[in-house]
């Protein structure tokens, strides 16, 4: 007796229903929170005068070779030779500077993307890169809502380059170079919690001065680098995307873990498929050996 189509489909449907109802180990996960010891930066655009001392200091602190070209400090965007940049926003009378570097997200898309954990939140919640675990797939670049990770396109042995919050300086008791050299304290370094409190203190003390929001408090699931913008200049004008409060990692992992149920689903499906194929295959084998098999169509 062979296994007919109906039985096969019924078995599959039953297996599907069983999986759908099974308690998932890793279903819709909770939104992530910043680690206890999370550190970060607070950039206050109303204080920045665009001197780019931070751009120079960042380069000196993070690259061995001399800067590529005299016009280096005029770089327009982050690149494989630039981990921190000051941009200028001009729109009629509205004018603001904008500092950009890795945001060190609370729940980073790049980390969710990374196959062997080359990018990971290491000490103080800082997102760092480990070249021994990186295959250069650049999925982190696809996944970063801020387009931060950069790739050495003109190199046969390329690396991923991005701000790592001067973790090498932190290890020696220092602070990030950009925050150290800023003459106006437009960018300050500290524990995320304290920076957040400071940002809110400034908002309350002088509500006329600022856009009524701390960017990074919840945006895209939250970031460890926080921003204040001048009143009348929304964060989108500074080049920061509108992300909502959910991180992309949260969306992606919820969908994927709901389907896979901690890999129980594929195992169950494989078991059912194995049984069905084992039965049908035996019938077909008989047909294969015969030279001419009759088929009614």
């Amino acid at each position: 007796m062979g296994l007919d189509r109906r039985t096969a489909l019924k078995t599959l449907a039953a297996a599907g229903a069983a999986i759908a109802g099974a308690p998932g180990r890793a279903e819709a996960r909770e939104p992530r929170r910043a680690p206890e010891d999370a550190v970060g930066l607070l950039y206050d655009a109303t204080l920045c005068i665009g001197c780019k001392a931070c751009v120079a200091a960042c380069y000196e602190a993070n690259f061995d070779e001399p800067p590529p070209g005299e016009m280096y400090y005029e770089a327009e965007d982050l690149s494989a030779t630039c981990r921190n940049i000051i941009k200028e926003h001009v729109d009629g009378a509205a004018h603001s500077f904008m500092k950009m570097q890795c945001m060190h997200c609370v729940d980073p898309g790049c980390i969710s993307a990374c196959m062997l954990g080359a990018l990971d939140k290491r000490e103080y919640g800082i997102v760092t890169w480990d070249g021994d675990r990186c295959v250069g797939c650049r999925y982190c670049q696809v996944a970063c809502p801020y387009n931060v990770p950069k790739f050495q396109w003109n190199d046969a042995t390329p690396e991923i380059v991005k701000c790592e919050l001067c973790s090498h300086r932190l290890a020696e008791g220092g602070i990030p170079a950009c925050a150290e050299v800023c003459p106006r304290e437009a960018v300050i370094y500290g524990r995320r919690e304290e920076l957040l409190a400071e940002a809110h203190r400034r908002l309350e003390a002088d509500p006329e001065r600022y856009e009524p929001k701390v960017f990074g408090e919840t945006d895209g699931g939250g970031t460890q680098v926080l921003y204040l913008s001048a009143a009348g200049i929304p964060f989108t004008d500074l080049g920061l995307p509108e992300l909502g409060d959910r991180s992309v990692a949260h969306t992606s992992e919820t969908v994927q873990h709901t389907i896979y149920k901690g890999f129980v689903a594929p195992v169950v499906v494989y078991g059912v498929l194995g049984a069905v194929v084992w039965k049908t295959h035996r019938q077909h084998e008989v047909g294969e050996v015969e030279v001419e098999e009759e088929v009614h169509s």
Partner: protein, 410 residues
């Protein structure tokens, strides 16, 4: 009509035909360019940038290419899962194209990877696996599936060697074939499971791209839409492949079988279109497809291709009309291909200031690699028993003269 299977046989014929030589030229050119790519890095060869880190090689060679290679999967669903032996003659050619197509996809990934020397660690260093990474699942799954496909194809090659003149190969084949036969159902089951996983997950990959993907393409339904689109493409390719190889090599048609395949494809395409519109409506994005924008035009083009294929096939008797079938199959391949390509490239917008268009070397490398794939296919079907046929009872068997056993030499 009473139909008869003829067993798969080597097609025979000259290998070094003119098209074959042209293709080897294209392949050689691609290999030279690849040497250059590995010396200077990706930048000088491709149009890729930090904004568009994935281009033609990923969107076409991998995301569209492996979907074109799901014929083996789509046919296996009919033959083994739905137990319909009618389609059995399609299994061998479909599996071969799948094995070659997935191998091409894997090569497409390797040449695209910046730090390819770390790839061997992927399947080995399981303690470093990031189990949240959709790409990890896709990568491991595709690696395993390439192996599964070649194991599925291997009996077709071994069966020839078993009877061939080379004593070593014959002994090897005789030793390997029996255990392989026993294990085959479980390998076939893997061959059904793995594409279900990675073809849907290829869609899930773009969930992380978030706001960079146009809202008409960004949906939690990405995995379902990617799975449906690849199955539709798989059936389309099998129909096209069957028809063209029959035309090219003068073998008999398999139209009744292909008509059946087409009906399966219609179900899949219908499900796709319903899900696509349902999803857009559910997410409240109907307004976006009502406006006239380049992206809504792209959306409608994609749907029109699917619907056109469906309309061509609405009347049952058209399923036996070769021209109709051919056009419908072509449309489903185009429709699925366009959807997948759009999701990865056209609907992907990293923000102002970034643009991507493939460079000539990038295109030439893809063209060369595809040529290599076709060359391998031609050699294998000419030398090994892959293609069989279904013919009306009483018709003579059609095999190229030099594929018949050569007369014994004195």
């Amino acid at each position: 009509m009473r139909m008869v299977h003829s067993p798969p046989q080597p097609i025979g014929g000259k290998i070094l035909t003119r098209p074959f030589l042209v293709m080897s030229g294209l392949l050689a050119g691609a290999l030279l360019l690849l040497v250059y790519r590995f010396i200077v890095g990706l930048g000088p060869v491709t149009g890729l940038s930090d904004g568009y880190p994935w281009g033609l090689w990923i969107a076409f060679d991998v995301v569209v290419g492996t979907a074109l290679a799901t014929g083996g999967y789509a046919v296996a669903i009919l033959v083994y899962l739905l137990n319909n032996g009618k389609y059995h003659p399609l299994v061998r050619p479909a599996l071969l194209t799948s094995a070659l197509g997935y191998t091409l996809g894997a090569i497409g990934v390797i040449i695209d990877l910046g730090r390819y020397w770390n790839v061997p660690y992927l399947p080995i260093k399981f303690w470093e696996w990031n189990l949240n990474s959709v790409l990890l699942e896709v990568a491991l799954c595709i690696m395993l599936y390439v192996a599964v496909l070649w194991i599925e194809v291997s009996p077709f090659l071994l069966q020839k060697w078993e009877k061939g003149g080379n004593e070593r190969l014959a002994r090897f084949s005789r030793a390997v074939l029996p255990p392989l036969k026993k294990a085959m159902p479980f390998i076939i089951a893997l061959g059904l499971l793995l594409p279900t996983m990675h073809q849907s997950s290829l869609g899930s990959l773009m969930l992380l791209a978030g706001t960079k993907i146009h809202p008409l393409w960004y949906t939690p339904m990405l995995p379902a839409l990617f799975l449906l689109s690849c199955i539709a493409m798989g059936y389309g390719v099998v129909v096209l492949e069957g028809m063209t190889s029959r035309t090219t090599f003068g073998r008999l048609r398999e139209t009744p079988v292909q008509a059946g395949l087409t009906r399966a494809a219609m179900l899949v395409m219908g499900a796709y279109v319903v899900l696509r519109f349902g999803d857009v409506a559910f997410r409240g994005q109907l307004g976006l497809i009502a406006e006239i924008t380049p992206m809504s035009a792209l959306f409608w083009t994609e749907q029109a291709l699917f619907v056109a294929a469906l309309i061509l096939l609405l009347r049952r008797r058209e399923h036996y009309n070769r021209g109709h079938l051919f056009r419908a199959a072509g449309l489903m391949v185009l429709a699925g291909g366009l959807y997948r390509f759009s999701t990865f490239l056209i609907a992907f917008d990293p923000g102002p200031g970034w643009s991507y268009f493939p460079t000539i070397p990038e295109v030439l490398i893809t063209v060369g690699l595809v040529s290599g794939e076709i060359m391998a296919y031609l050699v294998i079907i000419k030398k090994f028993p892959i293609i069989g046929g279904v013919k009306p009872a009483g018709w003579p068997s059609v095999v190229a003269p030099d594929a018949r056993p050569a007369p014994a030499r004195p």
